[in-house]
Amino acid sequence: MADGSLQVKGATPGQAAAMDYGRRPTLVGALSIIVGLLLWELAATQFSHFILPPPLNVFERFIDPAFGPRLLDALRLSFIQLGAGFGLALAIALPLGILIGRSHTAYHMFNPLINALYAIPPVALIPFLIIWFGLFLEARIALVFLMCFFDILVIIIAGARDVRSSLVDVGRSFGASRALCLRLVVLPALTPFLFAALRVGSARAINGMITAELFFAAANLGAILKRSAQAFDSASALAVVVTICLVGLAAQALIQALERRVLHWHLRA
């Protein structure tokens, strides 16, 4: 494939592949966006501005001195729980995933359990999070963590299992210890999966960030979104949605750029 996307076989095929969708801007793509915005403009004339404002009204919100800075401020605060939850999930899921993926016994023991727990929608755990963590920052961090933890874990386990045993055997026959094999063979072989986990995990974490801000005590971006919607100020609400969307796109682009630098040796499928 020309878009330099990375095939991650076996690792929840679609999930990883879905995030894999390279975004090389093309002329047709740009035209398509413009046509889409025009269609939106056209559709907006059919509705009241309170319900569906035209795109220009939404973009006006960003330069509104009463709204733009407030949005940025909320975004900065939102990033605190995003970073904390996502970081915590990575810090636990990476070692745990390698451990489970590399050990035959641990894999067979815990994989069905992990799949079962993964099947529970994280949002359904919100009542528990309220009981344990209250309604504020701690609860939001916990939800971000839960939203991305299992997605990361599942991909890392698949990656750790995917490391070809012949590679590890070569290391062994050169007298490398288990630890050295892990560092020099398993970890590099795992990096493509690590990036897949980062891409999927970051998207889920951003999703968790705004979900948490809406479902617990409304805070930061979620508070602006909720209040704007309640005041029938759809333009402001859509501006928040556009912001979240841009954050998501920026995260994907950032991880992809990093991947290109780190993984230049990796064979592209």
Partner: protein, 254 residues
């Protein structure tokens, strides 16, 4: 033989370990924080007898299916079109890229303004959460069809329609099933999320039970949700196996 026994025994051991840890943790923390397994089992029988849980579940699932099927009907052809035609790919690619990273939760407050809080809202949320994953999985499959396969069809002078129905579509079966499985996971998540937001149906039941700090019922509700999700996933993958039996064999020999 020994290996098979081990692969059967180890999962049971893992689950047993989990249940024991749950029981001990539950007894330590108490019913108001985290009910132990034993009281959840007792409560679960009560929930089944009461009927509200299963009643709400069926209504919610039926409504979820509307959005999910709509996502399949739109997503699968769109994915195939994008995978087979460069123009369709270029036109829809930026939009799919944008929507797949946009969280559906953020759209709910705006969708409520447009659609109200009824069935239309819930179906739309489910549709929006599931459709992009279905599109992308189908797209990856359609893009991966080797030109040789189609060339074989051409050299047997098959028409465009024949090539589509006899070569492209069967090759895509595993991807369509995988897309449906991933889409369904997201659809169930979105169903619960939308229902918890407007407090109706099964999600509403979870919300209300949480308000009562009744953790044994809450865990029972979560268990049911887990079983439904696993069951749906299992059924779809079984269907995939009968639809494309060659696929598993291919993968295991690779």
């Amino acid at each position: 033989m020994l290996n098979r026994l081990r692969n059967l025994l180890l999962p049971c051991l893992g689950i047993a370990l989990f249940l024991i840890v749950w029981e001990i943790a539950g007894r330590k923390m108490g019913d108001s924080l985290f009910a132990p397994l034993s009281s959840v089992v007792v409560q679960y029988v009560e929930l089944l007898r009461d009927g509200a849980m299963l009643g709400e579940l069926f209504i919610s699932l039926r409504q979820m299916l509307i959005g999910f099927l709509a996502a399949c009907v739109v997503g699968m052809p769109l994915g195939i079109a994008m995978g087979r035609s460069r123009l369709a790919d270029a036109v829809f690619r930026p939009w799919v890229g944008i929507f797949v990273v946009t969280s559906t939760a953020a759209l709910i407050p705006i969708l409520i303004l447009i659609l109200g809080t009824g069935l239309a809202l819930r179906s739309t949320v489910v549709f929006l959460a599931a459709v992009w994953y279905i599109v992308l999985t189908t797209y990856n499959g359609a893009k991966g069809i080797s030109p040789e396969q189609i060339a074989v069809g051409r050299s047997f002078s098959a028409g465009r329609a024949q090539i589509f129905w006899k070569i492209i579509l069967p090759t895509l079966y595993p991807y369509l099933i995988t897309g449906a499985r991933i889409g369904l996971i997201h659809a169930i998540r979105a169903m619960v999320m939308a229902e918890m937001f407007v407090i109706v149906g099964y999600g509403g039941l979870i919300h209300q039970t949480g308000m009562l700090v009744d953790t044994s019922s809450l865990l029972g509700l979560l268990a049911t949700l887990m079983i439904v999700s696993l069951l749906a996933n299992f059924l779809l993958s079984q269907w995939g196996k009968t639809l494309a039996p060659w696929y598993e064999q291919q993968r295991s020999t690779q």
